[in-house]
Symmetry: D2
Subunit: 356 residues, 4 copies
C-alpha cells in the first residue's frame, strides 16, 4: 500500500523485535520495510536468522526480508525510512539510536538509556501525551531532524496508568509498590528455567530505581523546555515469578485527599483519553476494573484490550493511610503495553499530531 | 523407648498431618502412638489410607498403624495420650479440639478457629514464648485438664519472627507486607494446576486479615490473664505463586526510632532465643541474614535451619519512612516453620517448662 | 437469528462445558438456548454458578441464562432443543444421555461411557465420518428419536488423525505411542499443583486402554449395522506433564508396506477431507506438518487451525521396523479438537447430511 | 586428612562442577585440592566466581579455594593430583582431557567427546565395570600415564541399568524408549524459562543418537583390547519437560525369551552388584522397584538411594511383543547418577581395584 509510512524495526530478531513485527502486521498506518540485526545476521533472510519465540509463526510479509546491519548509514540508501521502532539492547541503543536520530529517523525506543535525559520524552500516551512536544526541544538542542522518544520500563506502565487519574483527582503523596514480573520481561533466553521453576527471584537489577524515577517523570508537567517531576514518593520491591507474560503490581497509595474505594473504582472506570482513544493500537478502555475477588490474574487477563489495557482489581481501603489510603493491584502485558505496543501507540500519536 | 511421651496426630492423612509424621520420626521426646482421620478412614492401615504427597516415603514406624476416628472418646481407652498435634481442618477443629482438651489432652493446633480467642496462646517460641503461660488461665476458665495452644497462620510466621527484634530494639509503627505464598499453604489437593501454571493468584481468602490480627497478638504483651495486642499497624496484600514450599514476604517497615540498614542486619543476625535454642526442633539461628542481592529464594533457601529458620534478605533503607524506614524480605518454610515444625517446637517448650 | 438450530449444553459449568460455550459464540448454525448443570446450581444465573477457568470472560449471550437441571424432563417444556452437546462427567452421562436420547435429543457426548457400545458412532469426522450412519441403527434398535454420538478420548485424537492417511496409503501393523498430556485433560480442578509442579505423573487411569481400543474402532469399517475394528495393534504409555493445553504423543509406527519419511510427510500434507473441509469448525488443513527440528510444541502450536488441526513433526525413519518403520510426533489441542470442538464438528457433519 | 587421594574438579563453576563439589564433601577416599575454570575466572576465589545453582550453599571447604586455569601445565606444579573429575563442556574437553591424561592424570569425564572411542571405557559400574580394564589398553596405545574414563549420557543411565539384568536373564532384541528429561540436563543457564513454561520441547540435539549408541556399548562385551557392542536395537524419542532434576524414560522391550511381568520385577529387585555395593557412592540397591500405579515420579523419587538408584515402575506386559514383551518406566537423577555421582562411583571402583 503506497500510502503507508515505511518503518524499520531495529533489533528485529529479539523477543521485543518479534513483538513489533507481530503487532505491525496489517497496521493501517505503518508498514515494515526494513529490519536490522547484529552484524553477524546481516544479509540473512529474517526467517533464517530468527528464533521465533512468541505465539504463532513468522508473518509471511517479513519471512524473506533480508536483514540489514544496525547502522545509521543504511538510512536513505538501503532503508528509506524516517521512523524506526527500536528493540535494541541498552548497550547498542546508546550509540545507535542517536546516530539514527541524527540521520533523520524518529526512533521509538524500548531501551532505558535515554529515558531520563532531560530532552527525551518518556511517554505512555494515556498518561502524558503532552510530553511528546518535548521532541521539538530535543531536535532544536541536538540539531537532529529525527529524534528519540522513549517507552517506559515495562513494570511501571501499569502503575503509572492507574496513578494518572488518581493524581489528577485526589493528588498522591506516597506509593508502596511490589511487583511480580513475568519471565518475558528479561528477554530471550533471559531467565533460566533452573532459576524460576518452583521459585521466586526477589531481585531484578536496576528495576526498582527505574520504577521510582520513571513514575515521577511520567506524571510530571511539561514546562516550556523541560519536565518537572511529579512530587510523588514511590518505593518498590521487584520480583520475578513463574509467569510467561504480564506484570502484576500491588499498590498501597496515600492520596493527598480522602477517597473511598468506590470513588477510586469510578475514577478508574471513567478514565478516558479522547485524543488517543481512536488510534489503531489504543485499547477501548485504558483502565479496566475487575470486581471479582481474585482478578486480575496474569494468564487470564493479560490480553484485555488486546494486551493494551491496564487491568485493575481488588480496590479497597488502605488502613495505614487513614481516609486517604487505597490499595489495589494492576496488571499490564509487559511485552505489548509495556514494550512494543506502547511504542507503536506513541508513534500513532506523533503521526496523528503531524509530528512525523 | 519407654520414656518418650506418647502423642497423637489428629488429621494424620492430610498434607500437614504427613509433615507432623515426618518431623516426629526419631524425635527424642515425643513418640507417635495414635493417628486419627475422618470416619471413612477409621480402621484402615495408615499406608492404605494416605496419599503421601511430601518427599520420601511413609515412615516404617507408622505404615501399619490403624487409624482411629477423630473423636475425644478414643482418649485413654484406644489412645493413651495427653498430647496431640492437630492438623485438622478448621471446621472439624472447632468442635474436636475442645473435646480433646476437655478429655485431658493438650492440643497443639494448626487450625485458625481458636487463634484469636482471649485465653488461647498463639505462639512462635522465639517471638512470644511467655504467652504459653496463658494455658493456666485457659484451663482455669474452661475447667480443662488439657488445653489448646495455637500455631500461627503460616504466612505471618516469617514476618513476625523478623519483627520481634526490631520491635524490641527500635519500636514499630507501620508495616506494609506483600506475600508470595507457596501452593502447599492451601493443603492437598489445594490449588489446581490450571489456576497457578503461568499465573499468579492475587487473593487468598481470609489471609490478609489473619496476618494483620495475628501479628499484633504475637507481638503483644501478657498481662496477668490476657494479651494486650501490640500497637502495630500492618497492611497486607496476599498472593499465591507457582512455588511448592516457602512463603516469601516483602516488608516495608516504619520503625519508631531511626535505624540504618546495617543496624537492622546486626539486630537480625544477633537475635537469639536462649530458652528455645537447645530444643530438638529449634534452628541453630532463628533469623539467618543473606547478603547476596537476590536471596533468599524459596527453592534454594527454604530448608535453612532444617526449615525452621526465617531467612531475611535485601535489607535496605525504606525512603518513604525517612530515617525510620527499612525494607527487606523474609522467607519461611510454610509447612515446617509455619505449620507442623512450629507446633512441635511449641510442644517442646511446654515440655521443657514442665507444663505437660 | 430465527433460523439457527437451538442447542443445549449439558454440564455447562465445567471446563469442557465452558469450552463449548466459547466455541459456539456466533456459530452460524447452532445457537445455545439452554444450559444445564447439577441440581444444586439449578435456577442460578450462569455467571453466578460458573467458575470460569478458560481465557477471556463469560460471553455476554449466556451470562444471564438461568441454569436448568440435567434432566431429560426439561426437553420440550423448558428447553426446546433437539440437539445437545454433553460435557457431563461419566457417571452422570451414563443415565442422563440415554434419557435425553429417548426424549428426542441427539446428544453429542464427551463422556467415555458409550464410546465402545456397538451401535454408538465414535467419530472424528476427518477420520471416519461414515460411521455417523450408525445412528440409524442405534435409533432403530433402541427405539430412540434422538441418539448418542460420541467424541473420542482427547489423547487418541491426534494419533488417530495421523494414522488415517497412513492406514489408507500403506496399511499399519503396530504402533508404539507415548503421550505427554496437558493438565486440562483432567478437567477442573483436576490435577493438583502439588502433584505436577517440577514433576511428571507417569500414569493416567484408564487412558492407555481407551487409546488402544478407540484407535481400532476409529479406523474400523462400517459394515451394515456395525463396525469392524481395524486390525491394528497399538500400545501406549500415558503421562501427565506440566502443560495447560495440548497433548503431545510420540509415535513409532510399523506400516504394512515400505515408506520413506518424505513419502509420509507428503501423505500427511496432502490429506484433505472434502466433505468436512468447508464446515465452520473444520480447520483449513486437518494435518499440518512442521519441518523445524523442535516443533510442534504444545504452547506454541496448539492453536494451529484454531485448535482443530493435528500438528505433526519430526517425521523420520523408525529403524526398528526396517523399511516399514516411521516415527514422528503429533500434537492436538485436547479441549478443542479433543473435546468440545470435535463434538461441534461432528454435529456440523450431521447437520450437513440432514441427519438432524 | 593426609591419607585421602587429592583430586581436581575440572570446570568447577558449572552446574555439574557444583554437583561434584557437593558430592565430594566429606568423601572418605577423595579430597578436592584443586578447582579449575575458564581463563577469565583464574585467580578468583571459588565463591566469587561461581553462581551456585544447586540446593544449599557453597561448601566451606572450597569457598576460598583459588581457581586454576584448565590447563594440563598446572599438574604437578600448581595442582598435585593424579585424579580429576571433569565437568568440562564438550569443546573444551576435546583438547583438555587428553592433555591431562598425557600429564599423568586419570580423568573421569562427563563430556561426550571420547565416549565412543574404541579404547575409552564408557562405564556405569553396576552395568559394565569390567570395561574399566580397557584403561590398560588405552594407556598402552596412547602412551599415557593417566587416562580417560567416561561417564554415560545422563539419559541412558536409567535405561541401561534396567536393561542389564534383563539382558543377562532373558536376552534383549528391541527397545522403544521415550524420555521426558529434566531441565538440568542442559546445564546452567541451559533451558530458557520461556521455552519450557507450559510447554514440552520434543527434541534435544544429538540425544537420541547418543542413547542408541551408548546403550549398545554399555551392554557390550570386553574382548581383549576392545568392546563388542551388544546386538540390541534401541530407538528413542527424547523430550524436555518442566522438571528440575530427574529423567524419566518409558521402555517397551522385546526380550529374546518369554518373561512375565512378575519375573521381570523379581529380576529387577534381586539385582545386586557385589563388587560395587560397598563403595561410598553406591546405592543400597541399584534398582528399586515401585509398585504403586503412579510411581516413580521425578520430584518424589529422584533422591532414592541418595540419587544413585534407578527407580523402576509400572512393570507390565507389552502386548505388541507377545510373550516376550515387557513395558515399564525408569527414573534416574540426571546430575547425580547420570553425571557427577556416576563419575565418582567409577573412580571408587578404579581405586578399589588398585588401578590408581
Amino acid at each position: 500500500m503506497a500510502n503507508k509510512i515505511p518503518v524499520a524495526v531495529l533489533g528485529a530478531t529479539g523477543a521485543v523485535g518479534q513483538r513489533f513485527i507481530q503487532l505491525l502486521q496489517n497496521h493501517p498506518v505503518f508498514e515494515i520495510t526494513a529490519l536490522t540485526a547484529s552484524d553477524r545476521s546481516e544479509g540473512k533472510r529474517y526467517v533464517d536468522a530468527v528464533h521465533w519465540v512468541i505465539e504463532g509463526d513468522v508473518p509471511a510479509s517479513v519471512r524473506d526480508m533480508v536483514l540489514l546491519p544496525t547502522q545509521a548509514s543504511i538510512t536513505g540508501t538501503r532503508a528509506d525510512v524516517t521512523l524506526a521502532f527500536s528493540a535494541l539492547p541498552n548497550d547498542v541503543a546508546q550509540s545507535a539510536e542517536p546516530a539514527f536520530a541524527q540521520a533523520g529517523v524518529l526512533v521509538f525506543s524500548n531501551a532505558s538509556f535515554y529515558r531520563m535525559a532531560k530532552d527525551v520524552p518518556l511517554v505512555i500516551p494515556e498518561v502524558n501525551s503532552t510530553h511528546l512536544q518535548l521532541i521539538r526541544q530535543q531536535r532544536h538542542m541536538r540539531g537532529w531532524c529525527g529524534g528519540i522518544i522513549c517507552n517506559t520500563n515495562c513494570t511501571v506502565s501499569g502503575p503509572a496508568m492507574s496513578l494518572r487519574p488518581l493524581y489528577d483527582q485526589f493528588g498522591i503523596k506516597r506509593v508502596f509498590a511490589v511487583s511480580m514480573q513475568a519471565q518475558s520481561g528479561a528477554g530471550y533466553p533471559g531467565v533460566s528455567s533452573l532459576d524460576i521453576t518452583d521459585n521466586v527471584l526477589p531481585f531484578i537489577k536496576g528495576e526498582e530505581d527505574k520504577m521510582e524515577a520513571e513514575a515521577r517523570k511520567l506524571l510530571g508537567v511539561l514546562h516550556e523546555d523541560s519536565i518537572t517531576d511529579a512530587p510523588i514518593a514511590l518505593s518498590a520491591h521487584c520480583n520475578r515469578v513463574a509467569v510467561i507474560d504480564g506484570h502484576i503490581v500491588t499498590m498501597s497509595v496515600e492520596l493527598a485527599s480522602p477517597a473511598k474505594p468506590e470513588d477510586v473504582v469510578r475514577v478508574f472506570s471513567d478514565y478516558r483519553c479522547p485524543e488517543v482513544g481512536d488510534l489503531p493500537m489504543a485499547p477501548e478502555q485504558p483502565i479496566v476494573v475487575r470486581c471479582e475477588a481474585d482478578r486480575p490474574q496474569p494468564r487470564r487477563d493479560r490480553m484485555t484490550g488486546k494486551g493494551m489495557s491496564t487491568v485493575v482489581g481488588r480496590v479497597r481501603a488502605e488502613p495505614l493511610f487513614g481516609d486517604c489510603g487505597v490499595k489495589f493491584i494492576t496488571l499490564a502485558h509487559n511485552t505489548i503495553r509495556g514494550a512494543a505496543g506502547g511504542s507503536i501507540l506513541n508513534a500513532e500519536v506523533v503521526w496523528k499530531w503531524g509530528l512525523i
